[in-house]
């Protein structure tokens, strides 16, 4: 009994939902009421997972709260996280209370409210962009570290990468007008071939993964217990 509730019913739900979506795509005429009903079904996804955000926040607060109370490692930094959460939540709740859409209707939205958007665009965005830009350094050091003439394969990687670097840099075309053409060729021909193979492989792999999952043979969260 318990296995039925724990495993088989969720499995059956997954299976039925999957089949409904496939049937909707192939057999229900676009524009028909049945098809429309399935588009509403996809709309429910955001609603169904909505409480997970709360769970995340609670888990985060609990983790850092416990760390502070135990005076664990880096507990002082845990207070920063908690202060950050509390401050932004206050801003968010104030936003919910005051948010108006353009028509002047109170929609109780949080992200769309001005204070939250301000914090996001004016403060948060700086951290976001800076962390993203760390990649400029990492891509340089990874190239230095890993692009070595070790084997034929590694050399192809190195050679194509270096030609691409020259071809994409604005200065490459000035050094020799052939560089951008080589880069374009590399992107359009060998790169396209490799990507096409990867894309096809992924499609097959993903479909069969989904099939295994719908059949319940893949050992995941719903997998056979043994």
């Amino acid at each position: 009994m318990s296995l039925v509730v724990k495993r088989y019913i969720p499995l059956a739900i997954t299976f039925i939902m999957g089949i409904i979506m496939v049937i909707a795509t192939y057999f229900l005429v676009p524009g028909s009421p049945e098809r429309y009903a399935t588009t509403l079904l996809t709309g429910t996804v955001d609603v169904i997972v909505a409480t997970a955000g709360v769970i995340g926040l609670i888990v985060l607060l609990r983790h850092h709260g416990v760390n502070i109370s135990r005076r664990g490692k880096y507990w002082k930094y845990s207070t920063i996280t908690i202060i950050g959460v509390v401050l932004y939540l206050i801003v968010g709740l104030y936003g919910v209370a005051t948010q108006m859409d353009a028509l002047g209707t109170h929609r109780y939205l949080m992200l769309a409210s001005d204070p939250v958007a301000w914090v996001y665009n004016q403060l948060y965005a700086h951290m976001d962009a800076t962390i993203f830009s760390l990649l400029a350094f990492f891509i340089a050091s990874a190239a230095y570290r890993a692009f070595r003439l070790r084997s034929l394969e590694a050399s192809i990687l190195l050679l194509v990468g270096a030609l691409m670097l020259l071809g994409r840099a604005p200065i490459g075309g000035v050094m020799w007008e052939g560089f951008p053409n080589i880069a374009t060729w590399l992107l359009n021909v060998p790169n396209a071939a490799g990507n096409r193979a990867i894309t096809i492989g992924i499609a097959i792999g993903a479909i069969l993964l989904a099939v295994r999952q719908l059949m319940g043979v893949e050992r995941g969260y719903l997998g056979p217990e043994r």
Binding site: T42, D128, N188
Partner: protein
Amino acid sequence: MSTSSIAKIDRRYLYILLFIVVSIPLLSPLKLPIPLGEHAKRVFDKTESLTAGSVVIESFDYGPSTRPENYPQSKDHLFHARELGLKVVALAFWPSGAPIGEEALREVYGSDFPDIPEYGVTVVYLGYVPGAEVGMQTFADNCATAKGTDHYGTSLPSLPLMQEVQSAEDFDLWAEWASGTPGEQQVIQFVQGRHGGPSAVPIVVGATAVSVSGMMNFYISGQIYGILNGLAGAGEYEFMLNVKYGYPYEQGPSLDAQSLGHVLILAFIIVGNIGYLLTRSKGGKAK
């Protein structure tokens, strides 16, 4: 310096060098020349080929983190569209794209936007359209059901332009400023794929340079008509606009910095390999 140390320079020295080298042209521009690539030219030519009154969808699907790359592209293309008298329906499938889209429109159509006479006639801003790929699909099927009002709360049927633009059949060009998901793949799949293919809804993409290689399949197969490749793509586009319309060419210093950065990384690779080959020829097995 011993040979093995060339192969193992501490990463921090590389970082400092990169910092300095990229900073130089930003502080005093070098004015290096730039060449024009085929991908950007196709975007330019496609846009040029549209007759005045054609409808362009400008979709701002990026956030602040890729703004350095995507913003100049979208702004330049908007300018081009206005210059050619195209009708622009701008929107964002990313919530964080909505304020950026508005900013770009203000920059191109004047700071009074949307209180300008053209608003509603040749340009409309819908703002954030929720639902990601589902939203895209709905928008292409029937624009008005995806979002009832524009960004400023005016209902769509009361805007003359939106009377003309009912669904994907009325789009002449989809300009996608993409940096992830939803992005160009979703437009191909849910808009172009369901509404008559590349000839009916041509797509031009302004992409972050990282995603360009992954788009090549779609470019070759014609699903994407042209690509602006990152900041350089924006620079090339600005350059073409500069030649034809005298548009300011702002990306100069950035492109110079770009060039120097590339040369530096290339130098890193060469130095690393020299060190590697030297250690190996010395008999020590390089790990």
